[in-house]
């Protein structure tokens, strides 16, 4: 089977470039510094200034949160120029003239970015290994968390490729993606959820419908992330977000509250499908109105 030519070329040129190694070094260093600071912090705060292996569970949460945030920052940076850079370099027409379909080009670009992100994640595994060396975190849990982060990063990458198709300048598409992912998905949904909550309390003196809140927060990767952490670590992040009386719900609603990350996963999959399809549509030169 032939490897996607775009993926093959980009992998080759990226790995040949010293910049990628610099990025891997800086990325791993940031995560490692986070781990060191956490260990020092927990020792400093302990009763007898000693190291408590139980705190490693907390370190796992911190490292995963760092990984998630860094991935959401790195994904648009790596993909926002996927198509617009080809346009700026005047190689897009040559690529569109080949036998490759627009779908293959978009998928090649997406896979190329994802492979770089995976490389960054794999590079930080030694740091994560500290957490499960002391126990409390299983390899399966780590693998599950990594999958969730990869899917979220893939969603951000798919959105970035779409904006890269419609905007001529890489910088413009990057700014729009950061505003959309950071501003709308992360903070916008939280603010909207809080506003709906306070509106319901002021109008009906009750909490809003849980399904409405779940839908509102479905684009928020942070809520999904804490849902995964809750399931793995047994804490109550999601209970705090959706209120304390969620136990009143049963059936499908209760299932999705307990496994809220599934709602985010579903949202991510739908967004990936929609934005990849839109990218394919807009990349097709004879469909585009000029």
């Amino acid at each position: 089977m032939m490897m996607n030519p775009v993926l093959r070329r980009e992998t080759k040129t990226t790995l040949r470039n010293w910049k990628m190694f610099a990025v891997i070094t800086v990325y791993t260093a940031v995560v490692a510094i986070g781990a060191i600071l956490y260990i020092y912090g927990s020792m400093f705060n302990s009763y007898d200034y000693s190291f408590d292996p139980q705190s490693m569970v907390g370190m796992y949460t911190v490292l995963c949160a760092m990984q998630m945030a860094l991935m959401l920052l790195a994904a648009p940076a790596l993909t926002a120029g996927a198509i617009s850079a080809e346009r700026e370099r005047q190689t897009l027409d040559l690529l569109l003239m080949t036998k490759m379909s627009s779908f293959s080009i978009v998928i090649g670009k997406l896979m190329s970015s994802m492979s770089m992100l995976l490389l960054l994640m794999v590079a930080t595994l030694p740091v994560f290994s500290i957490a499960f060396y002391f126990g409390g975190v299983s390899l399966l849990a780590l693998f599950g968390m990594m999958l969730y982060i990869v899917l979220t990063a893939c969603m951000a990458a798919a959105v970035s490729i779409f904006f890269s198709c419609i905007f001529k300048k890489t910088m413009v598409s990057m700014v729009v993606v950061y505003l959309l992912i950071g501003g709308v998905c992360c903070f916008g949904t939280l603010i909207a959820s809080l506003m709906v909550n306070s509106l319901y309390w002021s109008m009906y003196q009750t909490e809003p419908n849980i399904v409405l809140q779940m839908v509102l927060l479905s684009p928020n990767p942070g809520v999904g992330f804490f849902s995964v952490i809750q399931e793995q670590m047994g804490n109550n992040f999601i209970d705090m977000i959706f209120g304390n009386d969620f136990n009143q719900y049963s059936g499908v609603t209760a299932f999705f509250i307990r496994h809220y990350w599934l709602v985010n996963v579903l949202f991510d999959v739908i967004v990936i499908c929609i934005f990849v399809s839109l990218s394919v549509y807009f990349l097709n030169p004879v469909r585009k109105k000029k």
Partner: protein, 308 residues
């Protein structure tokens, strides 16, 4: 090979190509000439399936490009007027990448790349980074790229622009070689003389309209209806002048130091009769020829003097 029927392209209220009709025969080098902004690039992009026509059709090998552009990608090799290269690739890797985009099997690629680089005389640069190539070399590399899938039709948008005279000559030689290999080549330029000597057919477009089409000689005949004849006698210049002054079809007679020029309004047969009369008058003739028109002047004339 290629037939364009009533092709039009509008950008809002601006008409870039207006009811264009063309026919390009097999294995020919077809020159597409026009001033900047005449609609050459737009037409070529529509031919290549990179742009949607507002109306009309482009038929290549019996298939309509406007209806099924993807199906014809294998038959077309396209070289745009402005193109970029992946600077971080070596020449062989660059070719390998494009071979991949046409899904050519890995094992077939090395021989194919060697062969194409030889055609464009870049074999010695195979392991060089594309970034290190000169402009002329990059143009040749782009030409080799457009040949990677062995297309029947090559669409080259101003391939010689920005090249020095030596690189232009090299490019012409490569194109002649490709024609001999059976390729049909459509080549655009805004400089008519650049294409005149190598093209079998030429069409001149201006403001989206086809102005004239045919061989260089036919176009010149169409435009310069009166032929200029130049005669250089060995001696008896005055006798020749007198004889020519008596001819009703001869006008604007000019006597130069060593030859004479005049406008002749007759047919080829009448021109042959004139030569016969001169020979019968025993005037020794060293040279008798039809003077070629100035291509630049012709171009300026048909395009309304808008060459830039």
């Amino acid at each position: 090979m290629l037939e364009i029927k009533h092709l039009s392209k509008q950008y809002g209220k601006f008409t870039a190509v207006d009811d264009l009709n063309l026919t390009v025969p097999d294995s020919s080098i077809f020159g597409f000439v026009g001033p900047n902004g005449a609609g050459k690039t737009t037409t070529m992009k529509i031919m290549s399936g990179l742009l949607k026509a507002s109306s009309g059709s482009v038929i290549i090998d019996g298939m309509d490009v406007t209806k099924n552009p993807k199906a014809l990608r294998e038959s077309i090799g396209y070289m745009p007027d402005f193109f970029g290269v992946y600077d971080d690739l070596k020449v062989s890797e660059y070719m390998d990448f494009y071979a991949g985009t046409y899904y050519i099997a890995y094992e077939k690629r090395p021989a194919m790349i060697d062969n194409l680089l030889e055609i464009v005389d870049l074999s010695h640069k195979k392991e060089a980074y594309v970034d290190s190539l000169s402009r002329g070399m990059k143009q040749r590399l782009c030409l080799a790229r457009s040949l990677i899938h062995d297309p029947k039709l090559l669409i080259l948008d101003e391939p010689a622009s920005g090249l020095d005279p030596r690189a232009r000559v090299e490019m012409k030689e490569i194109l002649k070689q490709l024609q001999m290999m059976g390729k049909t080549i459509i080549i655009s330029s805004h400089i008519l003389p650049e294409l005149a000597e190598m093209c079998t057919q030429i069409s001149i477009i201006d403001k989206g309209h086809l102005v004239v089409q045919g061989s260089v000689q036919e176009i010149m005949k169409q435009i310069t209806k009166v032929r200029t004849i130049q005669i250089r006698p060995l001696e008896q210049m005055q006798a020749l002048i007198k004889l020519l002054q008596e001819q009703p079809l001869v006008e604007n007679l000019i006597e130069n130091t060593f030859d004479t020029e005049f406008s002749f309004q007759g047919t080829d047969q009448e021109l042959a009769m004139l030569l016969k009369q001169i020979v019968l008058a025993e005037i020794p003739i060293a040279s008798f020829k039809e003077k070629e028109g100035n291509l630049e002047e012709i171009f300026m004339q048909v395009t309304g003097g808008e060459e830039k």
